[in-house]
Subunit: 110 residues, 2 copies
Amino acid sequence: MEEIERVAIYRLHAQFCKTLSDANRLLIMAELVKGERSVSELVERLGLQQANVSKHLALMRDRGLVTMRREGASAYYSLSDARIFEAIKMLMQVQADQFERQHNLANRAE
Amino acid sequence: MEEIERVAIYRLHAQFCKTLSDANRLLIMAELVKGERSVSELVERLGLQQANVSKHLALMRDRGLVTMRREGASAYYSLSDARIFEAIKMLMQVQADQFERQHNLANRAE
DNA sequence: AGAATATATAACTATATGTTCATATATATC
DNA sequence: GATATATATGAACATATAGTTATATATTCT
């Protein structure tokens, strides 16, 4: 693989990862992993502004993390691929393990 | 789990994910997954500025993604947990699959 | 001690991003 | 067709972040 192509791929993937790097978007995904939700359901459950939720969803849709289904005036969103939340969980576990390790070290130091 | 705590956890995790959301940092991690590297090795292989690499490494170290070992004047970095790159690979695969799916749809439409 | 090498950091600039408010668009209901 | 409801979007602002240049710190070698 050429170096230029390689860099381009990582640039693209960085943008994909950037979509995971906002707390509100992670909360939205944690909600969607339970099942399909409409915008207003997300607004109500997460206590965010409607415009804010719509914007996050538009971004996530652009980048292929969620899909949308229209039903009347409502828009129902779902995760496009279960592995996305699998990866998130895996990373959260790494972080949790590190936190615990640090905690143990701190205790042993007392 | 309380809602406030839940949000705090996702905020922390978002910061962790944010560390994955830069192309140069992903390139650094792709290099480190092959094995320990010094700063100058990374600078040479990736063609980035030394100050830039040092900054990214400092950030990654702060957030627990890499560990550092000093040897003389050199600093050797490695990934702190193999699962980090596993998660990255998983997400890249999701993206690759989506790309392929879109490509197939485009071909079928011709 | 002084020079050379390796890494880190501070200051600065440019750019990207999240949030909010206001408004637009689309669908359903009367 | 007018009104209400659901969602999307544009403008504006504040903030965060990446990259660069210059410099500081630390270590090795002579």
